[in-house]
């Protein structure tokens, strides 16, 4: 047999095999889920963890048989882009995800400023968006295809601030600091209201630019007001740790709060011992006594992959995939509009262990908020400890 004949025969065999396998290949449909998160800078740890959790959930759904819609089986694929926590990059990410990648579902997004850009384009294209962003302006009846995948200030602050006031009845004043962007501004508005409702005087409410590397003047200014409490609001972990460190050097010793605080490691990386005693509103603990085997196993893998324990921000990127699965199967459709219509009525198993659904009609005018437990944590002896929990 000549070489040409051998090659021709092999090619024909491959072609036949391809046609035979084609039905099997075509049966595996992939739904791309876009992620718009910071993968660089002070908040990069959230973005990396978000990516990890999305991929973990996608893998678990695959192993469980995928998403069944109209006789077809679908699997999720996570596509992550770096929004650098600003609107300009968020716009580029939105365009890349929708126009280049053709995604119709955003599995998760982080940062009010970049998410505003994303939401604007998503709504024009009829895409469904999940977000952990804290801006209240992203929610409501005007945004029918946006759903929130973690607790935000409206849910966290009454519980967190209420607990702090109860623990520190002598604390009468608070100085607030937030990043100078949409997230910080919208968080500040809600926090100011809640502190006021608790009869705590707001002696200062400042903003700082993301990307700041020198926090000494900021810390000096906050300390100059002699507040009993310093609330760093939506400040990411690395920045918050640096600020508390500078406050420690100056000699300020009061109640420390980071509303969006997600874990001890991020604070300790830049704050060292100054992270001790910080109260946080988005941290999650995984003690052997209270955590499930699944939670402990995934958390251990997360620590290997990203270097620290999981937190509420990242867990949202796991829950959104199971919510999407439930809504797609309930709607028996992968059309984003149909899925969005079905989403408010579905229940699914959250990473926290229970079956949950959505709520939020009273606060936001629309059922779009995942009904998640609100957990208050504190750094005690270098470790994150759960000190309060409310299940709405």
């Amino acid at each position: 047999m000549t070489i040409f004949n051998k090659c021709a025969t092999s090619a024909a065999a491959i072609l036949v095999a391809s046609f035979a396998a084609a039905p099997m290949v075509q049966a595996e449909e992939v739904i791309k889920l876009g992620l718009s998160t910071p993968l660089s800078g002070a908040a990069a740890i959230w973005g990396k963890g978000a990516e990890f959790m999305c991929e973990t959930a996608a893998e678990e759904i695959r192993e469980a048989g995928g998403v069944s819609v109209q006789g077809e089986t679908y699997f999720f694929e996570c596509l992550s882009y770096d929004n650098k926590y600003n609107a300009a990059e968020g716009t580029k990410v939105a365009q890349a995800l929708f126009n280049r990648e053709g995604v119709k579902f955003i599995g998760g997004s982080l940062g009010t400023a970049p998410v505003r850009a994303l939401q604007s384009l998503a709504e024009r294209q009829g895409a469904l968006v999940f977000t952990t962003a804290w801006g209240a302006s992203l929610k409501g009846p005007e945004h029918p295809t946006t759903f929130t995948q973690m607790n935000t200030p409206g849910e966290i602050l009454p519980e967190l601030i209420g607990y702090i006031v109860e623990q520190h009845p002598g604390a009468e004043s608070v100085a607030m600091l937030n990043p100078n962007d949409a997230t910080g501004q919208e968080t500040e508005e809600i926090a100011a209201t809640v502190w006021g409702e608790q009869d705590v005087e707001i002696v200062a409410s400042d903003y700082y630019e993301r990307g700041t590397t020198e926090f000494q003047p900021i810390a000096a200014r906050l300390a100059s007001f002699d507040p009993d409490i310093i609330d760093l609001g939506a400040t990411p972990p690395a920045d918050a740790g640096a600020i508390f460190k500078e406050l420690d050097v100056i000699g300020w010793d009061g109640v420390k709060v980071v509303e969006v605080g997600t874990g001890a490691d991020g604070l300790k990386a830049t704050g060292g011992d100054a992270a001790e005693g910080v109260y946080m509103g988005a941290g999650v603990t995984f003690n052997a006594d209270t955590a499930t085997e699944h939670q402990i196993k995934v958390n251990e893998r997360a620590k290997e992959a990203i270097g620290e324990s999981l937190n509420a921000v990242q867990i949202g990127f796991y829950d959104s995939l199971f919510a999407l699965k439930a809504a797609m199967e309930a709607a028996d459709s992968v059309d984003p509009q149909a899925v969005a219509e079905a989403m408010p009525d579905v229940t699914f198993k959250t990473f926290y262990g229970s079956d949950i659904g959505f709520y939020g009609e009273e606060r936001y005018g629309r059922v779009q908020q995942m009904r998640l437990p609100i957990i208050v944590t504190q750094v005690q002896n270098g470790e994150l400890v759960e000190v309060g929990r409310l299940t709405p």
Binding site: P38, L39, S40, G41, A42, A44, I45, G47, K48, D82, N180, D206, Y207, Y208, E209, G211, T212, T213, E214, Q216, P217, I218, A220, R221, S224, P237, A238, D239, A242, V249, I250, G251, G266, K268, A269, T270, G272, I306, G307
Partner: protein
Amino acid sequence: MQTFIQLGATTLQIGAVYVLFSLGLTLIFGVMRIVNFVHGHIFAVAALVVAYLLPILVGGGLAAPAAYVVASACGIAVSLALGAIIYLFGFRYFQRDLVGSFILSIGLVLLLDGVLLHVFGGAVRGVPEIFPGSVNIAGAQITVQRLFLCGVAFLMAGILYWTLGHTKLGRALRAVAYDHEAAMMMGVPYARIAFFGFLIASLLAAIAGALIAPVSIVSPVIGTDYLIKGFIAVIIGGLGSVPGAILGSLFVALVETLGGYYFDSSYAAIAIFALVIVVLLFRPKGMMGRA
């Protein structure tokens, strides 16, 4: 009074790093007449290498100060190597070409942004304190780490100033900065002097990066913020002027400190940029510049 002393100490601490950073920028411009945006990445590489190596060395049993010295030496070496490569394969061909060097440095910035993110990851790296504790100087609280940083920064500035004024290399650098053609006619090897000048600037950036690692938030984007402040300091002080760079850096640090304390750090950032506009309008050469 206490407040003013503390603010003064804060100004010096913040200004120290800006001084080291901007000295390198102004030296490159003075000698080669190019604006080097890659300076921030040379600074960042040193900080990242220190942040990466230090925990490994400490975990391996080395004492923190010794580990810091070793990690810093490695960081400075890597930064110098990067600087040498960038010069030999890039800027060497664009000397005294503002437009060409501008485009080249922007391209290198984009390239290095991606490379650093890929190699080091985007997350912040924590660096343990090397010299713990703080001291009280005339009522101002300063950490020992920051005091060390200030000491080294001003020592390096002093050494550079002395070098430029009292050594053959320094005189050659100044000659080239004043009039490179006349210097060449007098036998000054311009190509070699430009290379040394670029390396000295990279060394200053690398030392600044190594010093800042234990006191700042180290990530691949750390160079960008310092680059902006460094350029502002150099513009205010005058491109090509070493005393101008020192003055400009301290001025920027002063505005940042006072603005951040009395108003809001966001207003301080606006004030710094407003200052640049005012200087460019009324004194384009800067306070002490010749360019």
